[in-house]
Subunit: 261 residues, 2 copies
């Protein structure tokens, strides 16, 4: 099989290596998605890829998923030094997709068409945390995520990787002015905000809801918390004084869908 996969040209390699930088991702409308599970979720989705890149020595890891993809997407093989210019995995699985960014729909049309819970994230800045939140939101059947301005770019390779491909099954809307959108959100959704100081324990919700979360370091600002229908706090607090954001968020999402929504 390997003999049928052409080598990558240095021009292409250079262009794709630039996609590690958010500025170039925006300019090119492309981003990188690494790992077998991530590429598998990409192929299941309706998202388009420009290319599939593979590392020959890992063929046993990526062979199966590659067979499903090879007729749909141009593929190239990379040498190990070439691979290192793109890959961000410490133990690479040997497959990376170059994915085309999609035009985002408007927040209003998304809010109205969504049939299930959504996540709203204010100034999340750690790509690993963002990816973890996306992965959990997928698991619990959330339909999408609104990201405020000043958030980490969800096409960051670490965020895509940590989402385990969740970025391809959720709608993600970026640069959202949350404060401006809140009245509309409050009309359509039960708006829940995380408040480690004055929150009540999470509960199952039987109507569609929006879970609003702030950054790991600063939490939610008062001008947003002041607008929520409910404030939640996970009961607990032993020696360590806080629960980490992805864990607190997973528990809240778990509880929200517990209503059988």
């Amino acid at each position: 099989m390997l003999s049928n996969i052409p080598r990558v040209s240095q021009n292409r390699l250079k262009r794709w290596a630039k996609l590690l930088d958010a500025k170039f991702r925006r300019a090119e409308g492309l981003f990188l998605a690494e790992g077998v599970k991530v590429v598998e979720e990409l192929l299941k989705s309706d998202r388009q890829a420009e290319a599939l890149l593979v590392l020959p020595e890992k063929i046993s890891v990526w062979e199966k998923i590659f067979r499903e993809a090879k007729n749909k997407v141009p593929a190239y093989q990379l040498t190990s030094p070439e691979w290192k210019k793109l890959s961000r995995d410490r133990e690479p699985e040997g497959i990376i997709a170059v994915v085309k960014a999609e035009k985002e729909s408007s927040a209003s049309s998304f809010l109205q068409s969504s049939g299930s819970h959504i996540l709203i994230l204010h100034e999340i800045n750690n790509p690993g945390n963002l990816g973890a939140l996306i992965r959990s939101a997928c698991w619990f059947g959330f339909s999408g995520i609104l990201l405020s301005g000043n958030s980490v770019d969800w096409t960051n390779p670490k965020a895509v990787r940590a989402s385990m491909g969740g970025v391809f099954s959720l709608r993600i809307l970026t640069n959202i002015d949350i404060a401006a959108l809140l009245p509309e959100i409050r009309r359509e959704y039960i708006l829940v905000g995380s408040d480690p100081h004055r929150g009540v324990p999470p509960r199952a919700l039987t109507k569609k809801a929006a879970l609003l979360l702030g950054s790991e370091s600063h939490g939610l600002p008062d001008y947003l918390l002041g607008e929520v229908h409910e404030r939640w706090r996970i009961p607990g607090g032993g020696g360590a004084e806080s629960l980490s954001l992805p864990q607190a968020a997973a528990i809240m999402m778990y509880r929200m869908v517990d209503g059988g929504w």
Copy 2:
């Protein structure tokens, strides 16, 4: 205040820099704990530190916690290049403690004396995940963690950091032969195992329980899963096919203590 803190000697610096390596941590009986919150939890605990290291330019971040500690522990200031030899934080807060490892108690005496839930981890190999599990276990008031052989070292700087100091308020027992200990655990605890294939939804437990979890990549082996009283799986499963280990574990721990334990 800075003028009263001596510079670190190159001998000491060299010795402490070696603590980034597990082999030297074991040989020296010392490990590094970085960050304000982590050092704060250390000072609240009965654990002993050999030294406190600070980075002068971050004095505004560590000053408060340093005032509480300075009479108990010898302190040294490091230059920025010296700091880089020890620190693992991308945005350092400028404080690191050199902590003395404690002798572990026996598993049997721990199991009998523990008055609350415990966590049992089989071959966890990611230090960030281990730290996150420790942090959540603290939050939910678990009393300790049993780590199997072939697990990542919990004194790994990343694990200590991600625990946010939780390593200082929990008992952590290492190199546990879980299979050999199971009969004893089963007598004292409700033994719950995570099983993403055949588990039932988590439930509140009103007796003391042990939550057994496997590695992110392989889960639990059958010879351990076969011994549990209950197998749990978090309901869900949308686009992404799995929930990450720290998130699944946090949800299970949350549910366990929900019984008011």
